[in-house]
Symmetry: none
Subunit: 414 residues, 2 copies
Amino acid sequence: MTGEIIAVGTELLLGDILNTNAQYLSRQLAALGIGVYFQSVVGDNKDRLLNAFENAFKRADLVITTGGLGPTDDDLTKETGAEYFGLEMIEDKESMDNLRDYFKNNNMPETNLKQGYIPKGAKALKNNNGTAPGCIIEKDGKILVMLPGPPAETIPMFEESVIPILSKKQDKTFVSRILRLSGIGESAAAEAIRDIMKESENPTIAPYAKQDEMLFRITAGGNNKDEADKLINPVVKQIYKRLGQYIYGEGEDASLEKAVLNELEKRGLKIACAESCTGGELCARLVNCSGASNVLLEGVVSYSNESKISRLSVKEETLLKYGAVSAETAEEMAKGVSLNLKADIGISTTGVAGPLGGTEEKPVGLVYAAIYMNGKTNVYRYMIKGNRNKIRHRTVTNILNNLREMLIKDVSEK
Amino acid sequence: MTGEIIAVGTELLLGDILNTNAQYLSRQLAALGIGVYFQSVVGDNKDRLLNAFENAFKRADLVITTGGLGPTDDDLTKETGAEYFGLEMIEDKESMDNLRDYFKNNNMPETNLKQGYIPKGAKALKNNNGTAPGCIIEKDGKILVMLPGPPAETIPMFEESVIPILSKKQDKTFVSRILRLSGIGESAAAEAIRDIMKESENPTIAPYAKQDEMLFRITAGGNNKDEADKLINPVVKQIYKRLGQYIYGEGEDASLEKAVLNELEKRGLKIACAESCTGGELCARLVNCSGASNVLLEGVVSYSNESKISRLSVKEETLLKYGAVSAETAEEMAKGVSLNLKADIGISTTGVAGPLGGTEEKPVGLVYAAIYMNGKTNVYRYMIKGNRNKIRHRTVTNILNNLREMLIKDVSEK
């Protein structure tokens, strides 16, 4: 089955609100194995909506709309759906009772009465979180599902009333696994497994670039979850064999910072951070994972030379001779924060985040970062393109990934 | 002129990412006076994209695409745009030079070369934040603008290269002013100026809720900028009269942290931060503004009790008696960091960010924050609903706004 999503609402076309329903419904349909090849947004306008229905049903068997079920004259999705299928609007007793019940002692505005009507032959969908019931029309092999617009109503209605109906119509089960990679770009990663991607039809392998990382989504369809898993697993194994060192985690919830914290916690290692150009973002991203306190001793945002000297024991002559943005300063910062705070690992960042402060020798985007561990310091040099925010964010991602690789390597060498 | 937005990317159809570009571009087009009646999302598929172009150009003069300009075989927006207009792809020297420059000493994967090609007769748009240049095709009265997908690339490219071109084509000049408010919710702010909003037709006044802030966009159309400005100014003045204390800045680039840094710099005040639950985010948000070094002396991420005692001179008995999350600890942290680092102002945060660690007495979301200045400490108590990330982010916003209000009040009293 193929599906399309049409969001109805002028507020979406003006950019007043974000179309989160489309993302939610797309995910749900993907999980049900219903292919979505098109999403659209159209205003509260009968002719344009009719046109959208016509185009959508040319391409798809199932169309899901969100929005336009409210009580005002603007709200005309249901009426337009009825017109598209040549159905008249009739009162739905249960919906009308629910409406009266919803308003109970409050006076129901007259306009709300229209929410008690549905296209003849359609099935009303109860709204447990608002006044507008949804409905489903099934006719001539086509299905039109009309849901309310506010996500707090759309989502429960979809889960309570629509999933049970759609899943009965699907004979296949689809399973996805997501591999998350850091330290390698989309094109290089895709290049490394091009042959696997080409050969594999079920599962399919799709690469995506995200900010500072990339991921592969591997999706298989089978008669049941077991069968789909069995199709996916050998392919995932092949990918791990080639790109394992870059794969820091799996699934929607994985993050590089969580992966690093796990590796540290497994080894019982404590870290301390000395941040100059990243200004606290390294710590903040670690602390954003629950349980960071088991691993993170302290962070110092050492933005000035004075503070680098007093807190981190960076030598004044190092700053004078090499500058605050230098491999030498990064090295002393990492060592200093580790020794001063008695942490197993010290991490430092220092760089030119811009937009001002760049020189020919040290341009905006030049960053040094260092990791001190077991008496040794590794210094990294990054050249990052982009604005201040991107340079700082990418620096944190890079040094976290370097730390992750170092920890994993450290173990495998032993 | 009417415009349409087509987002290209299978990851959008799978619900892997949210289509924030559509919202951003819709707003921008509205501000330019370009009507948007349709948005759509289509996968990385030539035939379906061609079909989308055909439908869109039936309805609109301008089509803006996002995504599909990357280096992989999947990325085919530019090639499909060329095919739609019957143009061949040719090498664009400047784009190719920029690409080579981007990769410099790193090896450029062969596949990236395709990003240096554009449709013949098109104008390339430089990408200052990534590898994929955009481009504009103008032919037979139709305009196709193709932008990269990652918002960090889409938005700057649109603002730097596309707005200047589109605004020249509009006969009316639209001017928008954006007032940004902190410390007041959308409905309370809208309520406070409901009569002004109702009366005013040109300019229009639209309220938007954003994460942790709200804004009013005031838009007027006139024959030239001056005329539009003259329509806007008295309305803005009225809004300032009623809500001035909440308005921390104007425009897309304003931020609460910049506003705070400006107020501090004007007064020649230096600050130091002691962060527990926010874990560096307060510093990171300040440092994200260029020039933070003029104001920020140092930050301490003091996540453990030990560190609160040794670095911030919090008394052990305070921690024992009241706990780390308490008004008393927040107060001592702010005072300690200010005195220890010889800063004019010390700011502290300590709270239960969750998801674990909450008790009946101190539930998840309870945060204390403090500001020490001139020998006095103000302590604030927040109860914030939401996940760990939201609690920490909102804490930073709240304390920054409290500091801003304190600084402004301090001056007006003098």
